[in-house]
Symmetry: C2
């Protein structure tokens, strides 16, 4: 088990105080997955990313990107254009994580007929 | 884009109303990941699973398992023992998803030193 005072120990998400838990939450949360998978398509400006991640509020996307930037998944760059633009890209680590998340998303999308059948059976009971 | 009235269309988690979104949230949420990855270890009774997923409340674990059962990821069986016991196992689909989640968890755990370095750099700025 890892605690914040023992950063040398191996990470274990099953341990309540493990510092890997909030990291996992940031990237696997509702908007973290979609933002990271979208950024596999290439760099995005904030407003374009917000359109891609259909349904996310400005506040939630900003919060999500800040957490992912702090965790080293996303790189935020201010481009010196007029007016200045902010562009988001995946870091090397973010790209590895995003590939894994993409595989998860595809697996879920592919299996939605099975999921729907299970939901129908559950709701009938 | 898929809506609830068009169940035949291909699933797309980027579409706001796609029915795959809540499914993804159920399994990738805070407790969904941990419950599914824990169940890769074998069947669990509720109380043992709650000990394994350190820090989850009874209410949250029950809610998580109900959602995963409805989505066809988890099988809930009442064993006719005295007293009766309830046991949770992964379905075939749940096992596929859990393998994917396990790979994600391992990737995050493995990269925690990189994440911590990024967090330190971010917090210094």
């Amino acid at each position: 088990m890892e605690t914040e005072s023992d950063p040398g120990l191996e990470s274990d998400v099953f341990a309540r105080n493990c510092t890997s838990r909030p990291v996992l939450q940031n990237l696997a949360g509702r908007w973290g997955i979609l933002a990271l998978v979208a950024l596999r398509e290439g760099p995005y400006r904030f407003s374009a990313l917000r359109r891609r991640v259909d349904g996310v509020s400005e506040r939630m996307l900003a919060q999500t990107l800040r957490a992912l930037e702090r965790d080293g998944m996303v790189h935020r760059e201010v481009l010196e254009t007029i007016p200045p633009r902010v562009e988001y890209t995946l870091t090397e680590l973010g790209a590895e994580i995003a590939d894994q998340l993409e595989a998860l998303v595809k697996l879920v999308e592919l299996n939605m007929p099975r999921v729907r059948a299970a939901q129908d059976a559950y709701d009938r009971d």
